[in-house]
Amino acid sequence: MTQPILVIENLHAGVEGREILKGVSLTIHAGETHALMGPNGSGKSTLAAVLAGREGYTISKGRVDYLGKDLLELAPEDRAREGLFLAFQYPVEIPGVNSTYFLKAAYNELQKHRGEPELDAADFLVFVKEKVKLLDLDDDLLKRAVNEGFSGGEKKRNEIFQMAVLEPKLAILDETDSGLDIDALKIVAQGVNKLRRPDNAQLLITHYQRLLNYIVPDFVHVLHDGRIVRSGGRELALELEERGYDWLTQEAGAPGK
């Protein structure tokens, strides 16, 4: 078995005194794609936010080990530089900031962190154009301001594009499928599949199993009321689609919806 990329142990976290994660444990190895599913309010997005280091969350218990480092001790930008990437559920607009410029700055932060030479504008342009081609995206994306005036689908695609450029070791996709029509969903899924490698891993956070028709996960976990109540293979997702979440939540002894 390979060295795990991420080990979450009994993680408790919340906002303003309200506990949302109540003991999450999860281990992800290189080469694996995990899907984290669960009903609304189960804590999926909170887990993504805590892993990426968003402000405003209190961690009361547990630990997260990322590539041998205590993840929770790292500043958000250092987590990113260590190869942790979050594809946002709601990507933010940054008016006036050119996408290519933004990505170059981000990419060069990674390069600096790795002790590699930074790319200048010309070399970077060659590099991103390859990525644009890889994902069948429109070149136009590179000229626009970061997410400014993008449609919902364009924003999600842009997240995957950034992921392709930054080549993270662990990518967390927070509800990347929400709000996408089937064509956009396919493009996004194809992109993610192309980026799967034996030395990286993905954590797909999703409410619906639909995405998993296109990105086939190795493991599926169901989060309910702040705990993972069931883990399994891909067939678990299919079962969820058929039976909904209720049978699991009742089994877990938690108050039903």
Binding site: E77, F88, G96, A106
Partner: protein, 492 residues
């Protein structure tokens, strides 16, 4: 109050706006406050002002204070002709009868004009350097630190740079190429010596000495600046630029710049001002204004006299404790065009009250105003603009856009647009927005590996994009750096 239509340039109460007398021209004036306290107040300044180094060059300074003898001394040091001295003395006598304006939305302790040094020059200067090779290497180093390597910059960017170090212009590049086109670009002192007729003809024609309090003071004691003359029909072959540099402690820098673009000519001129920080100023500033120790009061005015003429102002204001500046355009010739692009950033306790005046007099005149105000820390940022369309200025257009960006919740942004339209065929549009840098934006950048400071700079620069794209590439880069420096320590 004169009738606005009778007096095309009046019309606003002097208490509301700088008095407006005669058209045209460019002036600069920066006054440094004196320090009174020697208490140690470290910790107030959250981060160092990167451009706050002081160059170790011996300077020759006049004793502090202002009187007729000092003015005579300045004039004598600069070997000026008698008429120039008389002009200065006349301005000084008028200044004595004036009081500082009270209308800008800035607060500062009274400036003691007798505690300012009005003349300071590098000692080794002698007759002045003839070429870049004669320039003290330390001066060149200073410019390097500021990111303006004179030689490289000139060569690479095709920019003719008249570098003003304290009171003496130390190097003028590209003089030869300009000379071939008949363009004169030199220090003001040199122009007084070598082109006295031109200087005498145009000095004060746009901003007369009696225009306002600071203009009068400047007229009396200005020590150097740039002079530029573009002959009829000539398109100036390169961007002209002056970098004002305030170096000697407790010295005022009184710049006077005069640009004359004759009929059918074209010129683009850029002016930058950074100032080193000194402990004394920081100490002084710590109780009231925070760390920016420079007071910056400027009168700038352009006069589009001929038909189809155009003046475009682009300014980036940052670093001063107090900024008070309204580059203006008087659109007198038919079809003339005025533009004003501005970025003003205030951090800590800095205050800026800046904007423009567009006075439409000729037919089919057009003006555009784009103002971007950024307030961080406890900074206060005010846009104050006047758009005035006279009766005869039929079919004129103005578009104004004033955007404010707030960083944190202790700063303020204010917008005071004054609009007067005296005919029915003209159209004036004003748009204003105020936004705040969101934690979401910062976190998004953090998640892509950018530090919070870098994220802030990037967001601010994006906000200013419409103005920066008016600047030639190399100056845009510089402006971005400058904003970055000014934002240091603004992250809570």
């Amino acid at each position: 109050m004169p009738d606005a239509d009778g007096d095309p340039l009046g019309g606003l109460p002097a208490t509301d706006f700088p008095p407006f007398t005669l058209p045209g021209g460019v002036h600069g004036l920066a006054v440094k406050p004196m320090s009174t306290s020697t208490d140690t107040i470290t910790g107030i300044v959250e981060s160092d002002y990167k451009y706050g180094f002081v160059t170790d060059i011996e300077t020759e300074s006049a004793p502090p204070g202002i009187n007729e003898d000092i003015i005579r001394l300045i004039s004598e040091k600069k070997k000026e002709p008698e008429w120039m001295l008389e002009w200065r003395l006349k301005a000084f006598r008028h200044w004595l009868t004036m009081t500082p304006p009270a209308w800008p939305k800035v607060h500062y302790p009274p400036v003691d004009f007798q505690d300012i040094i009005y003349f300071s020059a590098p000692k080794k200067q002698g007759t002045g350097p003839r070429s870049l090779d004669d320039v003290d290497p330390k001066l060149l180093e200073t410019y390097e630190k500021l990111g303006i390597p004179l030689r490289e910059r000139g060569r690479l960017a095709g920019v003719a740079l008249d570098a003003v170090f304290d009171s003496v212009s130390v190097g003028t590049t590209f003089k030869k190429q300009l000379g071939e086109k008949g363009v004169i670009f030199c220090s003001f002192s040199e122009a007084v010596q070598e082109h006295p007729d031109l200087v005498r003809k145009y000095i004060g024609s746009v901003v007369p000495p009696a225009d306002n309090f600071y203009a009068a003071l400047n007229s009396a004691v200005f020590t150097d600046g740039s002079f530029c003359y573009i002959p009829k029909g000539v398109r100036c072959p390169m961007e002209l630029s002056t970098y004002f540099r305030i170096n000697a402690g407790k010295s005022g820098q009184f710049e006077r710049t005069l640009i004359v673009a004759d009929e059918g000519s074209y010129v683009s001129y850029l002016e930058g001002c950074t100032a080193p920080m000194r402990d004394e100023n920081q100490l002084h500033a710590a109780d009231e204004e925070g760390k920016g120790g420079i007071f910056n009061f400027v009168t700038k005015r352009g006069h589009c006299k001929g038909r189809n003429s155009k003046i475009s102002w682009t300014q980036v204001e940052t670093g001063s404790a107090i900024t008070w500046k309204y580059p203006s355009c008087i659109l007198q010739g038919d079809n003339s065009v005025g533009e004003f692009y501005s970025v003003a950033l205030t951090n800590n306790y800095q205050q800026a009250d800046t904007g423009t005046k567009m006075v439409h007099i000729g037919k089919n005149t057009r003006s555009t105003i784009v103002s971007k105000g950024i307030a961080a820390g406890r900074g206060q940022n005010t846009y104050r603009g006047l758009v005035k369309v006279q009766k005869g200025a039929t079919n004129s257009r103005n578009f104004s856009q004033c955007d404010s960006l707030l960083i944190g919740d202790k700063c303020g942004a204010h917008t005071f647009p004054y609009i007067e339209v005296k005919n029915t065929s003209s159209r004036v549009e004003h748009e204003a927005t105020t936004s705040k840098i969101g934690e979401d934006q910062i976190f998004y950048c953090n998640q892509r590996g950018l530090s919070t400071q870098d994220a802030m700079n990037m967001i601010v620069n994006g906000f200013c994009k419409e103005v920066f794209r008016e600047l030639p590439m190399e100056f845009a880069v510089e402006a971005q750096k400058l904003l970055g420096v000014s934002l240091e320590g603004s992250v809570g």
